[in-house]
Symmetry: C2
Subunit: 369 residues, 2 copies
């Protein structure tokens, strides 16, 4: 696949760390929430191995926050997600599918409860702020909605705990998964969550004070030398192996959460009021007609830039591959695909055309590892 | 400025024409509405000269449509824009600032009135569909909102009229600016508007039938040979000279339409109900405190990827440059900047630092040409 450059402009926002990552060997970008998101520092496979064994610092400022505060904030947040947040606690992160009135997915953020009347929606790639504003205006809710000046630094990988402990003390290692707290550094308080878009463990630092954040960035690389720290970014291979879904890639507005295996975040047997609830009840009663599954393909290489059809022996389409990468662990191509009923059973075989060659594949459970 | 590659994925959607433009010499992309938008075919300056003298075909599928239909559609459309659409006519295009309840700009699309109860919002780069859905749900409006399968091909440049006439007949040259109609080609009907994101004249073809659109694409290049047709894309130099504002670059959610010189699209003295109306009345009464203006800088080169401060003799910030390019016409750098009161007067001088060199500049009216 030939490579093309990315054209920069103010519309595709830089982050406070852009000049640093470019000096550190960045090779490719993607665009996420109208912002530059690093996509490669040289070899994807080298970065994958490094992430699974060491520690990386990621400029993921593209994961923007939508702040919702005020008397109507809890009501608005609940209206947007099918996950029951009535017992949610301050200091916790919640993975929440956001859906519209037709139960189509709009985003799949982590929601942070900062206070009883103050929330951050840490979004995937769609303008959730516009949905929230529209709903709030239409429903006349007493809320304030804006995008705060927050640029996330993620510290990911098995050695992230030791690195962060050296800077922030044992309190940060003792923190539980998907909890967050505030930590001092260089004259500023940073919200840090034990979270991140890899399954290798780590933290997300929600930097509000840019100057302190830049000092922290440099400190992470200075202290991290002994842990072999490197700059990185969400890794396609690792995130597929771990089945971390990517909104826009694996799931989109044409899918509902039950089709995407998000059943445990769909709370239909509660009193809470959210958009698409009746639609989801209907879907659940009738049963879904397609399902997101893992696939393993007998190929050594793939560069996916759009869905690729999966066909059966009769050359009928039985599904579509949405994300894929060569996995050094399986020594095959693995991917995430939407399979039509009844072809989503584990071990279902299929054919796929990659660069005009036909390969065999089969369906499997998610996650891979 | 070093160049970086763009990482492709399903999330950053390809268009039906992606493989064609890549074969035709595309060198750089940007991302627009979660889709690949061509940003360069080699030299920006060569493309600028070519556009002003000949005809280009642009893959601008990234200009997505939001279709709104149903009994409540006119009400919803009017709610979103400060332009009075009460006398709008079927078959016409309307440039409409979309604003929120605080009068902050959300988008600046062309709205096409397809029917009394059916509209297309041809959007700049933000998820207007989510704002529309939120508003419709909150206000319980009887509407259907979705993104139709429409991929725009723009035919731009002074020779676009002759080229299009050869394919569609004189009816297309007789059509007035910002009007649209339906034209047959290869077994499909295409909505074609006399519009486009250049001031060199031309058309936008709203392709719904992809197969026919691909045939049309090839036909445009075949018939266009005699007019020296080339593939192209919105040209930074040409669009700044013409003062075609770019949402996300020149204007964003922190700006209101009066600050952006969009006064003629702000209809406050009418009975129509739209969001932000009271706020805009207030702004108008008090007067704006900053204003979007043109600037000319005594420099020969610029690569802008974020705002650059403009300062006065006392080194105080008096504004920020948001878009800029070297103009072969003026033989200087020209740009679009937001100037603070009272520094927005024509001929106001300023200083600007570009790549650590200080240049002189002055404020001027828009458009440049």
């Amino acid at each position: 696949m030939k490579n093309y450059f990315i054209a920069k402009s103010r519309r595709v926002r830089s982050t406070p760390y852009t000049s640093r990552i470019e000096n550190q060997g960045l090779t490719a970008y993607t665009v996420y929430n109208h912002m530059l998101l690093p996509a490669a520092f040289g070899s994807l496979e080298d970065s994958y191995h490094h992430l699974k064994e060491n520690v990386q610092v990621w400029d993921v400022a593209g994961e923007r926050q939508v702040e919702i505060s005020g008397k109507g904030s809890a009501k608005l947040i609940q209206l947007m997600t099918c996950r029951d947040l009535s017992k949610s606690k301050v200091g916790r992160c919640y993975y929440c599918p956001i859906i519209d009135d037709k139960a189509g997915l709009i985003n799949d953020p982590i929601i942070l409860k900062l206070d009883e009347q103050r929330w951050w929606i840490s979004i995937a790639d769609s303008d959730v702020i516009l949905f929230a504003k529209g709903l709030a205006i239409g429903n006349k809710l007493d809320v304030r909605i804006f995008e705060p000046n927050v640029d996330i630094l993620a510290v990911q990988g098995p050695k992230s705990f030791k690195l962060m402990e050296k800077i922030f003390g044992t309190k940060i290692t003792e923190m539980k998964f998907f909890n967050f707290n505030y930590f001092e550094f260089a004259g500023a308080k940073h919200l840090i969550a034990k979270s991140g878009w890899s399954k290798q463990g780590g933290y997300e630092i929600f930097v509000e004070n840019t100057e302190s954040g830049l000092t922290l960035y440099d400190k992470l690389f200075e202290v991290g030398k002994e842990f072999n720290v490197k700059p990185g970014c969400p890794n396609l291979i690792e995130r597929i192996e771990s089945a971390l879904l990517s909104y826009g890639n694996d799931i989109d507005n044409n899918d509902n959460p039950l089709e995407c295996g998000l059943d445990k975040y769909v709370n239909l047997d509660t009193d809470v009021n959210f958009l698409g609830k009746e639609k989801l009840k209907e879907v659940k009663k009738k049963g879904i007609t397609r399902k997101l599954m893992g696939v393993i393909i007998e190929a050594k290489e793939i560069n996916l830039s759009k869905s690729i059809d999966l066909t059966n022996d009769k050359n009928s389409k039985i599904g579509e591959l949405r994300s894929a990468a060569y996995s050094p662990y399986f020594k095959k191509v693995i991917g995430i695909a939407m399979l039509d009923k009844p072809y989503w059973e584990v071990s279902q075989t299929f054919k796929i055309s990659i660069n005009d060659n036909i390969f065999e594949g089969k369906v499997c459970d998610l996650p891979f590892i």
